[in-house]
Protein backbone atom coordinates (compact mmCIF):
# COMPACT_ATOMS: atom_id res chain seq x y z
CA UNK A 1 0.00 0.00 0.00
CA UNK A 2 1.29 3.42 -0.93
CA UNK A 3 0.12 6.01 1.50
CA UNK A 4 0.13 8.71 -1.14
CA UNK A 5 -2.89 8.78 -3.40
CA UNK A 6 -2.16 8.47 -7.09
CA UNK A 7 -2.87 11.59 -9.14
CA UNK A 8 -5.79 10.16 -11.12
CA UNK A 9 -7.43 8.89 -7.99
CA UNK A 10 -7.06 12.29 -6.40
CA UNK A 11 -8.83 13.97 -9.32
CA UNK A 12 -11.64 11.42 -9.23
CA UNK A 13 -12.00 11.99 -5.52
CA UNK A 14 -12.08 15.74 -6.02
CA UNK A 15 -14.76 15.46 -8.71
CA UNK A 16 -16.84 13.17 -6.51
CA UNK A 17 -16.75 15.54 -3.58
CA UNK A 18 -17.50 18.52 -5.82
CA UNK A 19 -20.50 16.69 -7.22
CA UNK A 20 -21.69 15.91 -3.71
CA UNK A 21 -21.12 19.26 -2.07
CA UNK A 22 -21.34 21.92 -4.78
CA UNK A 23 -25.19 21.96 -4.82
CA UNK A 24 -25.26 22.33 -1.05
CA UNK A 25 -22.69 25.10 -1.22
CA UNK A 26 -24.73 26.91 -3.90
CA UNK A 27 -27.83 26.56 -1.79
CA UNK A 28 -26.13 28.16 1.20
CA UNK A 29 -24.69 30.96 -0.95
CA UNK A 30 -28.08 31.75 -2.50
CA UNK A 31 -29.77 31.75 0.90
CA UNK A 32 -27.88 35.01 1.46
CA UNK A 33 -29.06 36.43 -1.88
CA UNK A 34 -30.89 39.74 -1.65
CA UNK A 35 -33.04 39.11 -4.72
CA UNK A 36 -36.46 37.48 -4.71
CA UNK A 37 -35.40 35.54 -7.81
CA UNK A 38 -33.57 32.54 -6.51
CA UNK A 39 -31.00 32.20 -9.26
CA UNK A 40 -30.06 35.84 -9.83
CA UNK A 41 -27.44 37.21 -7.45
CA UNK A 42 -28.02 40.87 -6.57
CA UNK A 43 -26.29 41.28 -3.25
CA UNK A 44 -25.69 39.92 0.23
CA UNK A 45 -28.57 39.93 2.68
CA UNK A 46 -29.87 37.97 5.64
CA UNK A 47 -33.44 39.17 5.13
CA UNK A 48 -34.77 35.74 4.12
CA UNK A 49 -33.62 34.35 7.45
CA UNK A 50 -35.57 37.07 9.15
CA UNK A 51 -38.65 36.35 7.10
CA UNK A 52 -38.29 32.67 7.73
CA UNK A 53 -38.30 33.22 11.49
CA UNK A 54 -41.59 35.11 11.15
CA UNK A 55 -43.22 32.44 8.99
CA UNK A 56 -45.55 30.62 11.42
CA UNK A 57 -46.40 27.90 8.95
CA UNK A 58 -42.78 26.91 8.39
CA UNK A 59 -41.83 27.22 12.05
CA UNK A 60 -44.72 24.99 13.11
CA UNK A 61 -43.83 22.44 10.47
CA UNK A 62 -40.17 22.51 11.48
CA UNK A 63 -41.06 22.01 15.12
CA UNK A 64 -43.39 19.12 14.25
CA UNK A 65 -40.75 17.52 12.05
CA UNK A 66 -38.13 17.68 14.78
CA UNK A 67 -40.46 16.13 17.35
CA UNK A 68 -41.58 13.42 14.91
CA UNK A 69 -37.97 12.68 13.99
CA UNK A 70 -36.88 12.47 17.63
CA UNK A 71 -39.81 10.26 18.65
CA UNK A 72 -39.58 7.90 15.70
CA UNK A 73 -35.78 7.65 16.02
CA UNK A 74 -36.09 6.77 19.70
CA UNK A 75 -38.77 4.18 18.98
CA UNK A 76 -36.70 2.73 16.14
CA UNK A 77 -33.58 2.48 18.33
CA UNK A 78 -35.52 0.68 21.08
CA UNK A 79 -37.09 -1.89 18.74
CA UNK A 80 -34.15 -2.12 16.34
CA UNK A 81 -31.70 -2.77 19.18
CA UNK A 82 -33.77 -5.65 20.51
CA UNK A 83 -34.08 -7.10 17.02
CA UNK A 84 -30.34 -6.67 16.37
CA UNK A 85 -29.44 -8.33 19.67
CA UNK A 86 -31.83 -11.20 18.96
CA UNK A 87 -30.30 -11.74 15.55
CA UNK A 88 -26.68 -11.49 16.65
CA UNK A 89 -26.88 -13.24 20.01
CA UNK A 90 -29.60 -15.86 19.96
CA UNK A 91 -27.88 -17.68 17.14
CA UNK A 92 -30.14 -20.26 15.62
CA UNK A 93 -33.75 -19.97 16.68
CA UNK A 94 -36.46 -21.37 14.44
CA UNK A 95 -37.46 -19.25 11.46
CA UNK A 96 -34.48 -16.96 12.10
CA UNK A 97 -34.04 -16.53 8.34
CA UNK A 98 -37.65 -15.37 8.03
CA UNK A 99 -37.24 -12.93 10.90
CA UNK A 100 -34.02 -11.54 9.41
CA UNK A 101 -35.59 -11.25 5.96
CA UNK A 102 -38.75 -9.54 7.15
CA UNK A 103 -36.69 -7.12 9.20
CA UNK A 104 -34.60 -6.15 6.19
CA UNK A 105 -37.57 -5.79 3.83
CA UNK A 106 -38.18 -2.08 4.50
CA UNK A 107 -34.59 -1.43 3.39
CA UNK A 108 -35.40 -2.43 -0.17
CA UNK A 109 -39.17 -1.82 -0.33
CA UNK A 110 -40.06 1.21 -2.49
CA UNK A 111 -41.22 3.95 -0.14
CA UNK A 112 -44.41 4.45 -2.10
CA UNK A 113 -45.43 0.89 -1.29
CA UNK A 114 -44.43 1.21 2.37
CA UNK A 115 -46.43 4.42 2.62
CA UNK A 116 -49.48 3.02 0.87
CA UNK A 117 -49.51 -0.17 2.94
CA UNK A 118 -49.14 1.77 6.17
CA UNK A 119 -52.05 3.99 5.15
CA UNK A 120 -54.19 0.92 4.48
CA UNK A 121 -53.18 -0.52 7.84
CA UNK A 122 -54.08 2.66 9.73
CA UNK A 123 -57.45 2.87 8.02
CA UNK A 124 -58.34 -0.74 8.79
CA UNK A 125 -57.02 -0.44 12.34
CA UNK A 126 -59.27 2.54 12.86
CA UNK A 127 -62.25 0.42 11.79
CA UNK A 128 -61.30 -2.56 13.97
CA UNK A 129 -59.74 -1.14 17.14
CA UNK A 130 -60.74 2.53 16.90
CA UNK A 131 -57.15 3.84 16.64
CA UNK A 132 -55.96 6.04 15.03
CA UNK A 133 -59.16 8.07 14.90
CA UNK A 134 -57.42 10.58 12.67
CA UNK A 135 -54.06 10.50 11.00
CA UNK A 136 -51.41 12.86 12.28
CA UNK A 137 -48.52 12.93 14.69
CA UNK A 138 -48.94 9.35 15.96
CA UNK A 139 -49.24 7.75 12.56
CA UNK A 140 -46.21 9.58 11.17
CA UNK A 141 -44.09 8.52 14.14
CA UNK A 142 -45.14 4.88 13.76
CA UNK A 143 -44.60 4.94 10.01
CA UNK A 144 -41.12 6.45 10.29
CA UNK A 145 -40.14 4.08 13.09
CA UNK A 146 -41.21 1.16 10.89
CA UNK A 147 -38.87 2.33 8.17
CA UNK A 148 -35.84 3.07 10.32
CA UNK A 149 -36.03 0.11 12.71
CA UNK A 150 -34.52 -2.01 9.97
CA UNK A 151 -31.56 0.36 9.61
CA UNK A 152 -30.93 0.41 13.36
CA UNK A 153 -31.14 -3.40 13.58
CA UNK A 154 -28.57 -3.81 10.82
CA UNK A 155 -26.15 -1.34 12.45
CA UNK A 156 -26.54 -2.90 15.91
CA UNK A 157 -26.11 -6.40 14.55
CA UNK A 158 -22.89 -5.42 12.78
CA UNK A 159 -21.50 -3.86 15.95
CA UNK A 160 -22.38 -6.94 18.02
CA UNK A 161 -20.85 -9.28 15.48
CA UNK A 162 -17.63 -7.29 15.76
CA UNK A 163 -17.07 -7.56 19.49
CA UNK A 164 -15.64 -10.28 21.66
CA UNK A 165 -18.36 -12.44 23.14
CA UNK A 166 -15.96 -13.34 25.96
CA UNK A 167 -16.52 -9.90 27.50
CA UNK A 168 -20.16 -10.78 28.18
CA UNK A 169 -19.15 -14.20 29.45
CA UNK A 170 -16.59 -12.59 31.75
CA UNK A 171 -19.34 -10.44 33.26
CA UNK A 172 -21.56 -13.49 33.82
CA UNK A 173 -18.58 -15.32 35.28
CA UNK A 174 -18.13 -12.46 37.76
CA UNK A 175 -21.70 -12.86 38.95
CA UNK A 176 -23.71 -10.56 36.69
CA UNK A 177 -27.19 -11.78 35.80
CA UNK A 178 -28.24 -11.63 32.13
CA UNK A 179 -30.09 -8.32 32.56
CA UNK A 180 -27.06 -6.76 34.27
CA UNK A 181 -24.78 -8.05 31.53
CA UNK A 182 -27.01 -6.36 28.97
CA UNK A 183 -27.23 -3.00 30.76
CA UNK A 184 -23.68 -2.76 32.08
CA UNK A 185 -21.69 -4.46 29.30
CA UNK A 186 -23.54 -5.02 26.04
CA UNK A 187 -25.38 -1.71 25.91
CA UNK A 188 -22.37 0.53 26.68
CA UNK A 189 -20.31 -1.35 24.10
CA UNK A 190 -22.88 -0.94 21.35
CA UNK A 191 -23.67 2.66 22.36
CA UNK A 192 -21.81 4.12 19.36
CA UNK A 193 -24.03 1.99 17.09
CA UNK A 194 -27.10 3.23 18.95
CA UNK A 195 -26.02 6.86 18.51
CA UNK A 196 -25.30 6.27 14.83
CA UNK A 197 -28.61 4.43 14.40
CA UNK A 198 -30.55 7.17 16.16
CA UNK A 199 -29.00 9.89 14.01
CA UNK A 200 -29.67 7.91 10.85
CA UNK A 201 -33.28 7.32 11.87
CA UNK A 202 -33.59 11.00 12.76
CA UNK A 203 -32.40 12.16 9.34
CA UNK A 204 -34.48 9.53 7.53
CA UNK A 205 -37.55 10.88 9.28
CA UNK A 206 -36.57 14.51 8.83
CA UNK A 207 -36.29 14.29 5.04
CA UNK A 208 -39.12 11.90 4.29
CA UNK A 209 -41.77 13.19 1.90
CA UNK A 210 -43.22 10.04 0.38
CA UNK A 211 -44.36 8.12 3.45
CA UNK A 212 -45.41 11.28 5.27
CA UNK A 213 -47.64 12.32 2.39
CA UNK A 214 -49.57 9.07 2.83
CA UNK A 215 -49.93 8.99 6.60
CA UNK A 216 -49.97 12.69 7.59
CA UNK A 217 -53.25 14.28 8.54
CA UNK A 218 -54.67 17.65 7.60
CA UNK A 219 -53.36 19.46 10.69
CA UNK A 220 -49.95 17.84 10.68
CA UNK A 221 -47.73 18.92 7.84
CA UNK A 222 -44.07 18.10 8.28
CA UNK A 223 -41.33 20.38 7.06
CA UNK A 224 -40.48 18.41 3.89
CA UNK A 225 -44.16 18.48 2.94
CA UNK A 226 -44.25 22.26 3.39
CA UNK A 227 -41.07 22.74 1.40
CA UNK A 228 -42.29 20.43 -1.30
CA UNK A 229 -45.64 22.17 -1.69
CA UNK A 230 -44.15 25.68 -1.54
CA UNK A 231 -41.49 24.80 -4.13
CA UNK A 232 -44.25 23.68 -6.46
CA UNK A 233 -45.65 27.19 -6.29
CA UNK A 234 -42.26 28.59 -7.24
CA UNK A 235 -38.83 28.63 -5.63
CA UNK A 236 -38.55 30.89 -2.64
CA UNK A 237 -35.31 32.19 -1.11
CA UNK A 238 -36.91 31.49 2.26
CA UNK A 239 -36.68 27.79 1.49
CA UNK A 240 -32.98 28.25 0.74
CA UNK A 241 -32.51 29.84 4.13
CA UNK A 242 -34.42 27.01 5.75
CA UNK A 243 -32.33 24.43 3.93
CA UNK A 244 -29.13 26.16 5.00
CA UNK A 245 -30.24 25.95 8.61
CA UNK A 246 -31.04 22.27 8.19
CA UNK A 247 -27.60 21.65 6.71
CA UNK A 248 -26.07 23.38 9.71
CA UNK A 249 -28.11 21.31 12.19
CA UNK A 250 -27.34 18.04 10.42
CA UNK A 251 -23.62 18.89 10.28
CA UNK A 252 -23.56 19.57 14.00
CA UNK A 253 -25.35 16.27 14.67
CA UNK A 254 -22.88 14.39 12.48
CA UNK A 255 -19.96 16.04 14.27
CA UNK A 256 -21.45 15.08 17.61
CA UNK A 257 -21.87 11.49 16.43
CA UNK A 258 -18.27 11.35 15.23
CA UNK A 259 -17.06 12.79 18.51
CA UNK A 260 -19.11 10.33 20.57
CA UNK A 261 -17.73 7.52 18.46
CA UNK A 262 -14.05 8.55 18.47
CA UNK A 263 -11.96 5.36 18.93
CA UNK A 264 -12.75 5.00 22.58
CA UNK A 265 -12.98 1.23 22.60
CA UNK A 266 -9.95 0.52 20.45
Amino acid sequence: MTHRLAGGLLIALGLGYTFLYLPILLLIVFSFNESRLVTVWTGFSTKWYGELLRNERILDAAWLSLIVAACSATLAVAIGTLAGVALARYGRFRLRWLFAGLLAAPLIMPEVITGLSLLLMFVSMDQVVGWPASRGFGTIVVAHATLSTAFVAVIVQARLAGFDRAVEEAAADLGARPATVFWRITLPLIAPALVAGWLLAFTLSLDDVVIASFVAGPGTTTLPLVIFSSVRLGLSPQVNALAAIIVLVVSVLAAVAAWANRGRFA
Binding site: V167, E169, A170, G175, F265
Partner: protein, 363 residues
Protein backbone atom coordinates in the same frame (compact mmCIF):
# COMPACT_ATOMS: atom_id res chain seq x y z
CA UNK B 1 -2.05 -25.57 52.15
CA UNK B 2 -2.67 -29.29 52.44
CA UNK B 3 -4.19 -31.19 49.60
CA UNK B 4 -7.17 -33.25 50.64
CA UNK B 5 -8.08 -35.87 48.09
CA UNK B 6 -10.70 -37.56 50.21
CA UNK B 7 -13.05 -34.61 50.12
CA UNK B 8 -12.18 -32.92 46.84
CA UNK B 9 -12.97 -29.29 46.21
CA UNK B 10 -13.96 -30.06 42.65
CA UNK B 11 -15.17 -33.31 41.17
CA UNK B 12 -15.70 -33.72 37.49
CA UNK B 13 -17.79 -36.85 37.00
CA UNK B 14 -18.18 -38.55 33.62
CA UNK B 15 -18.42 -35.32 31.68
CA UNK B 16 -19.06 -35.67 27.95
CA UNK B 17 -19.66 -32.95 25.41
CA UNK B 18 -20.04 -32.97 21.63
CA UNK B 19 -20.25 -30.09 19.18
CA UNK B 20 -22.42 -30.92 16.17
CA UNK B 21 -21.89 -34.63 16.77
CA UNK B 22 -18.12 -34.37 17.11
CA UNK B 23 -16.98 -35.27 20.63
CA UNK B 24 -14.91 -32.59 22.34
CA UNK B 25 -14.89 -34.33 25.74
CA UNK B 26 -15.43 -38.04 26.34
CA UNK B 27 -16.16 -39.31 29.84
CA UNK B 28 -13.82 -37.00 31.73
CA UNK B 29 -13.28 -37.70 35.42
CA UNK B 30 -11.16 -35.53 37.67
CA UNK B 31 -10.84 -34.71 41.36
CA UNK B 32 -9.03 -31.62 42.52
CA UNK B 33 -8.23 -30.86 46.13
CA UNK B 34 -8.22 -27.60 48.06
CA UNK B 35 -5.19 -25.37 47.51
CA UNK B 36 -3.88 -27.22 44.49
CA UNK B 37 -2.32 -25.55 41.49
CA UNK B 38 -3.58 -28.02 38.97
CA UNK B 39 -2.61 -27.92 35.30
CA UNK B 40 -4.57 -29.25 32.34
CA UNK B 41 -2.01 -30.00 29.67
CA UNK B 42 -2.84 -30.97 26.12
CA UNK B 43 -2.30 -30.08 22.50
CA UNK B 44 -4.49 -27.46 20.87
CA UNK B 45 -7.98 -28.85 20.24
CA UNK B 46 -7.74 -31.51 22.94
CA UNK B 47 -10.72 -30.10 24.83
CA UNK B 48 -9.05 -28.09 27.61
CA UNK B 49 -11.04 -24.90 27.09
CA UNK B 50 -14.28 -26.85 26.76
CA UNK B 51 -13.66 -28.57 30.10
CA UNK B 52 -12.84 -25.24 31.74
CA UNK B 53 -16.01 -23.66 30.35
CA UNK B 54 -18.11 -26.52 31.65
CA UNK B 55 -16.59 -26.10 35.12
CA UNK B 56 -17.26 -22.34 34.96
CA UNK B 57 -20.85 -22.88 33.83
CA UNK B 58 -20.38 -21.17 30.46
CA UNK B 59 -21.08 -24.40 28.60
CA UNK B 60 -23.48 -27.23 29.41
CA UNK B 61 -22.22 -30.81 29.34
CA UNK B 62 -24.21 -33.42 27.40
CA UNK B 63 -23.88 -35.74 30.37
CA UNK B 64 -22.05 -35.97 33.67
CA UNK B 65 -21.91 -33.89 36.86
CA UNK B 66 -19.79 -31.11 38.28
CA UNK B 67 -19.54 -30.90 42.07
CA UNK B 68 -17.94 -28.20 44.13
CA UNK B 69 -17.37 -29.15 47.78
CA UNK B 70 -19.73 -32.03 47.20
CA UNK B 71 -22.57 -29.80 45.98
CA UNK B 72 -23.92 -30.53 42.52
CA UNK B 73 -23.59 -27.32 40.47
CA UNK B 74 -24.20 -28.86 37.04
CA UNK B 75 -27.45 -26.95 36.60
CA UNK B 76 -26.24 -23.64 38.03
CA UNK B 77 -25.58 -20.76 35.63
CA UNK B 78 -22.10 -19.21 35.60
CA UNK B 79 -23.22 -16.23 37.69
CA UNK B 80 -24.18 -18.46 40.60
CA UNK B 81 -21.01 -20.55 40.77
CA UNK B 82 -18.21 -19.83 43.26
CA UNK B 83 -15.77 -20.02 40.37
CA UNK B 84 -14.01 -17.24 38.45
CA UNK B 85 -12.11 -17.35 35.20
CA UNK B 86 -9.13 -15.63 33.61
CA UNK B 87 -10.03 -15.77 29.93
CA UNK B 88 -7.50 -16.55 27.24
CA UNK B 89 -8.22 -13.18 25.58
CA UNK B 90 -8.43 -11.59 29.09
CA UNK B 91 -11.86 -10.19 28.10
CA UNK B 92 -11.38 -6.98 30.09
CA UNK B 93 -14.28 -4.54 29.95
CA UNK B 94 -12.99 -1.92 27.48
CA UNK B 95 -15.32 0.83 28.71
CA UNK B 96 -14.21 0.58 32.34
CA UNK B 97 -11.00 1.56 34.07
CA UNK B 98 -8.73 -0.98 35.70
CA UNK B 99 -10.39 -0.14 39.01
CA UNK B 100 -13.86 -0.53 37.46
CA UNK B 101 -12.93 -3.89 36.03
CA UNK B 102 -11.71 -5.22 39.37
CA UNK B 103 -14.70 -3.81 41.25
CA UNK B 104 -17.27 -5.23 38.82
CA UNK B 105 -17.60 -8.67 40.41
CA UNK B 106 -17.71 -7.23 43.92
CA UNK B 107 -20.53 -4.87 42.94
CA UNK B 108 -22.59 -7.84 41.78
CA UNK B 109 -22.45 -9.12 45.37
CA UNK B 110 -23.80 -5.75 46.62
CA UNK B 111 -20.93 -5.38 49.06
CA UNK B 112 -20.64 -2.09 50.95
CA UNK B 113 -18.62 0.58 49.17
CA UNK B 114 -15.77 0.65 51.68
CA UNK B 115 -15.35 -3.12 51.42
CA UNK B 116 -15.22 -2.93 47.63
CA UNK B 117 -12.70 -0.09 47.68
CA UNK B 118 -10.49 -1.85 50.18
CA UNK B 119 -10.59 -5.11 48.24
CA UNK B 120 -9.80 -3.38 44.95
CA UNK B 121 -6.81 -1.65 46.56
CA UNK B 122 -5.62 -4.96 47.95
CA UNK B 123 -5.93 -6.68 44.56
CA UNK B 124 -4.13 -3.83 42.77
CA UNK B 125 -1.26 -4.24 45.22
CA UNK B 126 -1.26 -8.00 44.84
CA UNK B 127 -0.66 -7.73 41.10
CA UNK B 128 1.46 -4.54 41.42
CA UNK B 129 -0.88 -2.41 39.32
CA UNK B 130 -1.75 0.32 41.84
CA UNK B 131 -0.40 3.15 39.65
CA UNK B 132 -2.55 2.04 36.74
CA UNK B 133 -5.91 2.01 38.53
CA UNK B 134 -7.36 4.84 36.44
CA UNK B 135 -6.24 3.51 33.04
CA UNK B 136 -8.43 1.87 30.44
CA UNK B 137 -7.48 -1.61 29.18
CA UNK B 138 -6.36 -0.30 25.78
CA UNK B 139 -3.76 1.86 27.52
CA UNK B 140 -2.05 -1.20 29.02
CA UNK B 141 0.56 -3.64 27.74
CA UNK B 142 -0.22 -7.36 27.33
CA UNK B 143 1.45 -8.26 30.61
CA UNK B 144 -0.42 -5.52 32.47
CA UNK B 145 -3.74 -6.63 31.01
CA UNK B 146 -3.05 -10.11 32.21
CA UNK B 147 -2.42 -8.84 35.73
CA UNK B 148 -5.69 -6.93 35.68
CA UNK B 149 -7.57 -10.00 34.46
CA UNK B 150 -6.01 -11.98 37.29
CA UNK B 151 -6.88 -9.34 39.89
CA UNK B 152 -10.43 -9.05 38.58
CA UNK B 153 -11.11 -12.76 38.92
CA UNK B 154 -9.35 -13.06 42.29
CA UNK B 155 -11.21 -10.10 43.79
CA UNK B 156 -14.26 -12.18 44.68
CA UNK B 157 -12.05 -14.72 46.46
CA UNK B 158 -13.61 -17.63 44.56
CA UNK B 159 -13.28 -21.21 45.75
CA UNK B 160 -11.74 -22.04 42.41
CA UNK B 161 -9.89 -19.94 39.85
CA UNK B 162 -9.73 -21.12 36.25
CA UNK B 163 -6.98 -19.79 33.98
CA UNK B 164 -7.15 -20.47 30.25
CA UNK B 165 -3.64 -20.27 28.76
CA UNK B 166 -2.94 -17.08 30.71
CA UNK B 167 0.64 -16.73 29.44
CA UNK B 168 0.05 -17.65 25.82
CA UNK B 169 -0.03 -14.04 24.64
CA UNK B 170 3.13 -12.99 26.49
CA UNK B 171 6.67 -13.08 25.17
CA UNK B 172 9.07 -15.64 26.56
CA UNK B 173 10.85 -13.51 29.15
CA UNK B 174 7.62 -12.09 30.55
CA UNK B 175 6.11 -15.56 30.57
CA UNK B 176 8.87 -16.91 32.77
CA UNK B 177 8.57 -13.97 35.14
CA UNK B 178 4.76 -14.31 35.35
CA UNK B 179 5.12 -18.02 36.04
CA UNK B 180 7.03 -17.33 39.23
CA UNK B 181 4.63 -14.57 40.16
CA UNK B 182 1.58 -16.74 39.61
CA UNK B 183 2.88 -19.38 42.01
CA UNK B 184 3.65 -16.69 44.60
CA UNK B 185 0.18 -15.18 44.26
CA UNK B 186 -1.50 -18.57 44.45
CA UNK B 187 0.37 -19.36 47.67
CA UNK B 188 -0.59 -15.99 49.15
CA UNK B 189 -4.30 -16.16 48.42
CA UNK B 190 -4.57 -19.91 49.00
CA UNK B 191 -7.15 -20.34 46.26
CA UNK B 192 -7.28 -23.49 44.15
CA UNK B 193 -6.06 -22.77 40.60
CA UNK B 194 -6.75 -24.79 37.48
CA UNK B 195 -4.39 -23.69 34.76
CA UNK B 196 -4.88 -24.69 31.15
CA UNK B 197 -1.77 -24.83 29.00
CA UNK B 198 -0.34 -26.49 25.93
CA UNK B 199 3.19 -25.76 27.15
CA UNK B 200 4.59 -28.80 28.94
CA UNK B 201 7.41 -26.81 30.49
CA UNK B 202 4.87 -24.45 32.03
CA UNK B 203 2.77 -27.31 33.37
CA UNK B 204 5.75 -29.16 34.84
CA UNK B 205 7.25 -26.10 36.47
CA UNK B 206 4.03 -24.65 37.95
CA UNK B 207 1.67 -27.41 38.84
CA UNK B 208 1.32 -29.39 42.03
CA UNK B 209 -0.50 -31.98 39.92
CA UNK B 210 -1.49 -32.13 36.30
CA UNK B 211 -3.72 -33.98 33.90
CA UNK B 212 -2.64 -34.73 30.36
CA UNK B 213 -5.45 -34.54 27.80
CA UNK B 214 -5.57 -36.13 24.39
CA UNK B 215 -8.51 -35.77 22.02
CA UNK B 216 -11.14 -35.11 24.67
CA UNK B 217 -9.86 -37.64 27.19
CA UNK B 218 -7.70 -37.43 30.26
CA UNK B 219 -4.88 -39.90 29.64
CA UNK B 220 -2.87 -39.44 32.84
CA UNK B 221 -3.12 -37.58 36.14
CA UNK B 222 -0.23 -37.16 38.55
CA UNK B 223 2.47 -34.93 39.95
CA UNK B 224 4.93 -33.49 37.41
CA UNK B 225 7.56 -35.94 38.73
CA UNK B 226 5.26 -38.97 38.33
CA UNK B 227 4.25 -37.98 34.83
CA UNK B 228 7.80 -37.23 33.76
CA UNK B 229 9.33 -40.34 35.30
CA UNK B 230 6.50 -42.80 34.69
CA UNK B 231 4.48 -41.75 31.64
CA UNK B 232 1.50 -44.04 31.17
CA UNK B 233 1.47 -44.13 27.39
CA UNK B 234 3.56 -43.45 24.31
CA UNK B 235 1.53 -40.26 23.83
CA UNK B 236 2.32 -38.89 27.29
CA UNK B 237 5.94 -39.99 27.03
CA UNK B 238 6.53 -38.18 23.79
CA UNK B 239 4.35 -35.16 24.65
CA UNK B 240 6.33 -34.36 27.77
CA UNK B 241 10.05 -33.78 27.33
CA UNK B 242 12.33 -35.87 25.14
CA UNK B 243 12.26 -39.63 25.32
CA UNK B 244 13.81 -42.62 23.54
CA UNK B 245 11.49 -45.48 22.62
CA UNK B 246 12.52 -49.06 21.92
CA UNK B 247 9.66 -51.09 20.46
CA UNK B 248 9.66 -54.83 21.20
CA UNK B 249 8.00 -57.86 22.72
CA UNK B 250 8.18 -59.26 26.25
CA UNK B 251 9.95 -62.65 26.21
CA UNK B 252 10.51 -63.26 29.90
CA UNK B 253 9.14 -62.10 33.19
CA UNK B 254 10.95 -63.05 36.39
CA UNK B 255 11.60 -61.51 39.79
CA UNK B 256 10.14 -58.12 38.97
CA UNK B 257 12.30 -57.91 35.86
CA UNK B 258 11.12 -57.99 32.24
CA UNK B 259 13.21 -59.03 29.30
CA UNK B 260 12.20 -57.41 26.04
CA UNK B 261 13.37 -58.47 22.58
CA UNK B 262 13.56 -55.30 20.51
CA UNK B 263 12.05 -55.27 17.01
CA UNK B 264 15.24 -53.75 15.58
CA UNK B 265 17.13 -56.99 16.20
CA UNK B 266 19.50 -55.64 18.85
CA UNK B 267 20.37 -57.37 22.13
CA UNK B 268 17.55 -58.00 24.64
CA UNK B 269 16.63 -55.14 26.95
CA UNK B 270 16.04 -55.57 30.66
CA UNK B 271 13.62 -53.30 32.48
CA UNK B 272 11.98 -53.31 35.90
CA UNK B 273 8.35 -54.38 35.71
CA UNK B 274 6.13 -51.36 36.27
CA UNK B 275 3.23 -51.87 33.91
CA UNK B 276 2.36 -55.52 34.65
CA UNK B 277 3.07 -56.65 31.12
CA UNK B 278 2.86 -60.34 30.25
CA UNK B 279 5.06 -62.51 28.12
CA UNK B 280 4.16 -62.00 24.47
CA UNK B 281 2.88 -58.41 24.88
CA UNK B 282 4.04 -55.76 22.43
CA UNK B 283 5.52 -52.94 24.50
CA UNK B 284 7.85 -50.00 24.23
CA UNK B 285 10.72 -49.31 26.58
CA UNK B 286 10.97 -45.57 27.15
CA UNK B 287 14.19 -44.03 28.47
CA UNK B 288 14.80 -40.33 29.14
CA UNK B 289 17.99 -38.94 27.53
CA UNK B 290 19.41 -37.89 30.90
CA UNK B 291 19.00 -41.44 32.26
CA UNK B 292 21.32 -42.75 29.56
CA UNK B 293 25.06 -42.38 29.39
CA UNK B 294 27.74 -42.71 26.80
CA UNK B 295 30.07 -45.53 27.80
CA UNK B 296 29.49 -48.70 29.79
CA UNK B 297 27.48 -48.54 33.01
CA UNK B 298 27.58 -51.05 35.88
CA UNK B 299 26.77 -54.74 35.63
CA UNK B 300 23.26 -55.62 34.47
CA UNK B 301 22.86 -52.37 32.50
CA UNK B 302 21.54 -52.35 28.95
CA UNK B 303 24.15 -51.55 26.33
CA UNK B 304 23.81 -50.64 22.65
CA UNK B 305 26.50 -49.69 20.16
CA UNK B 306 26.02 -46.93 17.67
CA UNK B 307 27.40 -44.14 15.53
CA UNK B 308 27.36 -40.54 16.72
CA UNK B 309 25.50 -38.54 14.09
CA UNK B 310 25.29 -35.16 15.72
CA UNK B 311 26.16 -33.40 18.97
CA UNK B 312 23.77 -30.65 20.03
CA UNK B 313 25.22 -28.07 22.42
CA UNK B 314 22.62 -26.81 24.93
CA UNK B 315 24.70 -24.83 27.42
CA UNK B 316 24.82 -26.83 30.62
CA UNK B 317 24.65 -30.09 28.69
CA UNK B 318 24.87 -31.49 25.19
CA UNK B 319 22.57 -33.98 23.51
CA UNK B 320 24.38 -36.70 21.58
CA UNK B 321 22.35 -38.22 18.76
CA UNK B 322 23.40 -41.83 18.28
CA UNK B 323 22.26 -44.06 15.43
CA UNK B 324 21.88 -47.65 16.58
CA UNK B 325 22.11 -50.19 13.74
CA UNK B 326 18.86 -50.26 11.82
CA UNK B 327 17.11 -49.03 14.92
CA UNK B 328 15.98 -45.64 16.09
CA UNK B 329 18.16 -42.65 16.70
CA UNK B 330 18.81 -42.33 20.40
CA UNK B 331 19.31 -39.06 22.25
CA UNK B 332 21.69 -39.11 25.17
CA UNK B 333 22.07 -36.09 27.40
CA UNK B 334 25.64 -35.57 28.56
CA UNK B 335 26.27 -32.93 31.23
CA UNK B 336 29.33 -30.74 30.90
CA UNK B 337 31.94 -30.15 33.51
CA UNK B 338 32.15 -33.47 35.32
CA UNK B 339 35.22 -34.52 33.41
CA UNK B 340 33.45 -36.93 31.08
CA UNK B 341 34.78 -36.84 27.54
CA UNK B 342 32.29 -35.53 24.98
CA UNK B 343 32.06 -37.80 21.94
CA UNK B 344 32.14 -36.19 18.52
CA UNK B 345 30.32 -36.81 15.27
CA UNK B 346 31.46 -40.01 13.56
CA UNK B 347 32.59 -41.79 16.76
CA UNK B 348 31.41 -45.31 17.44
CA UNK B 349 30.19 -45.33 21.04
CA UNK B 350 28.39 -47.52 23.53
CA UNK B 351 25.22 -46.21 25.06
CA UNK B 352 23.97 -47.70 28.32
CA UNK B 353 21.21 -47.36 30.87
CA UNK B 354 20.28 -49.28 34.02
CA UNK B 355 17.25 -51.58 34.00
CA UNK B 356 15.29 -49.32 36.39
CA UNK B 357 15.60 -46.31 34.01
CA UNK B 358 13.36 -47.91 31.39
CA UNK B 359 9.60 -47.39 31.58
CA UNK B 360 7.39 -50.07 30.03
CA UNK B 361 4.61 -48.60 27.88
CA UNK B 362 1.78 -50.83 26.76
CA UNK B 363 -0.19 -48.34 24.69
Amino acid sequence: MSTDHRRPLLSVESISKSFAGIPALADVNLQIGRGELFALLGASGSGKTTLLRIIAGLERPDSGRIRIEGRDVTGLPAYERPVNTVFQSYALFPHMTVRGNIAFGLKQDRLPRETIEARVREMLELVQMSEYAARRPHQLSGGQRQRVALARSLAKLPKLLLLDEPMAALDRKLREQMRVELVTIQKRVGITFILVTHDQEEALSLASRLAVMERGRIVQVGTPREIYDRPASRFVASFIGQINLFEGRVIERAGGMLTIRPDDGGPDIRATDGAAADVGDAVAVAVRPEKMRVGRAGPGANVRRGLVRHVEFLGESSVVHVEIGAGPRVRVSVPHGNGAAMPSTGDIVEVSWPAEAGVILRN
